[in-house]
């Protein structure tokens, strides 16, 4: 069982007021809040052992290097990667995706095919379009149904010998749909295609086992799971990471340099050019510790309760339509009320201290599918409460009254 009142004490920001009202933070799918335990690690780093890593012989540098590499091992264990060097630190999910997309440009040929899903975030569409432009590969899309679920029979039909890569998010940011990545990975592997899963939305809710999934690449951002912004990771199978060329040139990523030839460093350093986000990496590890101290089973169970309660309460509001009604979904509710513009609702809710997302959620193809300009999106984390949902519902009713 999860003691939400105690957990809330870990998050100083939840004590603050916005527009004179206690903050209700329902924009967790955009970024999660940071617990004191993670904030302390950040403060400790800059207070006590800030130094550049890997190169220094002095004590501070050793301490910082140890903490940074320990965090990598925490991340490795959390995702159950086989080796620590299969975890590449990046600036976040988008950076990770671009790293893989860039690497594949030397592996693809004209006529090769890449499959993405209709549920993708822009960051998961644009790099592949750019890759296709560079290589002459063809981009194919797995369509979705009215509930916001991928149509798997259509996916099966897209797979063939030309398929080289499949990219799909584990959970849709706009609708909360949990995609059947196990099936997608297995089927893609049957035709010899690699699979990259975008775990940005799943990592706060699910603990993926990359070896059990047999996924080739898995990416996420620390800030979605109570860590800081500007840091994330790319998991890649060792074989794949060795096949991909380096992404950026710079310090740290080289073994030997002369003007004739440079030998690249071994994994993971080959992909980690320059001074990394050292503090961010260490805090990422602390965030994973924090999440595990609460327990992903507890998190999933509690957030499911919030999702069911929130859905039930929202459905009582006349004219309210929920977008994304997949059987398997996480604690994200995207909705509109009648013809009221989502922006209007978001603005009024903000005046009452409630933070929600409005707009197309960087997933315009999904909005085009439903023929709407956008939605209001409320997304819950384990530190939210049913009482907050009640306050949100009352505020929403008031907003609808003002705007109708």
């Amino acid at each position: 069982m999860l003691d939400v009142q105690n957990i809330r004490k870990d998050f100083p920001i939840l004590q603050r007021k916005v527009n004179g009202k206690p903050l209700i933070y329902f924009d967790n799918a955009a970024t999660s809040q940071t617990p004191q335990q993670v904030i302390d690690v950040i403060v400790d780093y800059y207070t006590n052992y800030n130094a550049n890593i890997h190169r220094g012989v002095h004590s501070l540098s050793q301490e910082a290097t140890d903490a940074y590499e320990q965090a990598r091992i925490k991340i490795q264990k959390h995702f159950n990667a086989k080796h620590p060097h299969e975890i590449i630190y990046t600036a976040g999910t988008t950076h990770s995706i671009n790293l893989v997309a860039n690497g594949f440009s030397s592996l693809l040929q004209k006529g090769d095919e890449i499959i993405v899903s209709a549920l993708e975030h822009h960051s998961n569409i644009v790099p592949w379009q750019m890759l296709c432009e560079r290589t002459g590969a063809i981009l194919k899309v797995i369509p979705m149904n009215e509930n916001g679920e991928l149509i798997l029979s259509d996916f099966d039909a897209l797979l063939n010998d030309h398929t080289k890569l499949v990219f799909v998010n584990h959970i849709s940011n706009a609708l909360g749909t949990i995609n059947p990545i196990e099936y997608i990975i297995d089927e893609a592997h049957k035709v010899g295609a690699a699979v990259l899963v975008d775990g940005a939305q799943s990592c706060p809710h699910i603990k993926p086992d990359v070896q059990a999934l047999d996924v080739d690449f898995y990416v996420c951002s620390a800030h979605k799971l109570c860590g800081p912004t500007g840091v994330g990771m790319l998991y890649g199978k060792e074989d794949w990471l060795n096949k991909l060329p380096p992404y950026q040139g710079g310090g740290e990523m080289i073994a030997e340099v002369s003007f004739e030839k440079t030998t690249y460093a071994a994994l993971p350093h080959k992909f980690e050019a320059g001074t990394p986000n050292i503090c961010g990496g260490i805090a990422f590890g602390a965030a994973i510790d924090y999440m595990n101290s609460i327990g992903f089973d507890n998190i999933a169970q509690y957030e499911h309760e919030l999702l069911e309660y929130g859905t039930e309460q929202l459905q009582k509001i006349e004219g309210l339509k929920i977008y994304g009604t997949a059987k398997e979904k996480t604690s994200v509710i995207s909705f509109n009320v009648g013809t009221i513009h989502p922006y209007d609702i978001g603005t009024i809710l903000d005046k009452m201290g409630i933070a929600v997302r409005t707009g197309h959620h960087c997933a315009q193809p999904i909005m085009d599918f439903y023929k709407i300009p956008g939605t209001v999106r409320a997304s819950f984390m384990f530190y939210n409460t049913k009482e907050e949902i009640d306050t949100f519902i009352t505020a929403l009713k008031k907003a609808v009254m003002m705007l109708s």
Binding site: N19, H341, G359
Partner: protein, 140 residues
């Protein structure tokens, strides 16, 4: 009335309200009286970029004075643009170019002035002034 006079009038009206709810309710009502843009001008070209909601603005000049019409798919945005247009319409281009927009702050809508704000109030003001600059060059 000069732009400043109209702005002062708007400031006085908003001063009557005690809280944000009344202010927003009034703004929503003002949006309903917005001089609507002719459907034929509701084109992609006339959409103001930088708004989460769509805003269309059109301008025409009669007797050296500019009149604005507009529309938006969001009610609050409609209210904001209605306030702006009330201040800037039926004015000489030169006066619009020189006008300041501090009154937005004074009527308690300061939060909408941030350039990162999704409603794009800053873009709207810029667009109205661009129209004025364009018409001013016609007069010169």
């Amino acid at each position: 009335m000069s732009i400043e006079d109209v702005q002062n009038e708007i400031i006085e009206e908003f001063a009557m309200f005690e809280d944000w709810e009344e202010r927003y309710q009034y703004m929503i009502d003002l949006g309903k009286d917005l001089p609507l843009i002719d459907e034929k001008y509701k084109t992609e070209d006339n959409i103001i970029k930088g708004c989460q909601s769509k805003v269309w603005v059109h301008a025409n000049m009669v007797d050296d004075k500019i009149n604005f019409t507009a529309d938006s798919d969001a009610i609050i945005t409609k209210g904001i643009i209605a306030i702006l247009i009330r201040a800037f319409s039926n004015q000489h281009p030169a006066a619009i170019i020189e006008a300041n927009t501090d009154f937005i702050d004074k009527i308690g809508l300061k939060e909408h002035l941030s350039p990162t704000r999704a409603n794009g109030l800053v873009s709207m003001i810029k667009q109205l002034k661009l129209y004025a600059i364009a018409y001013q060059t016609q007069l010169n």
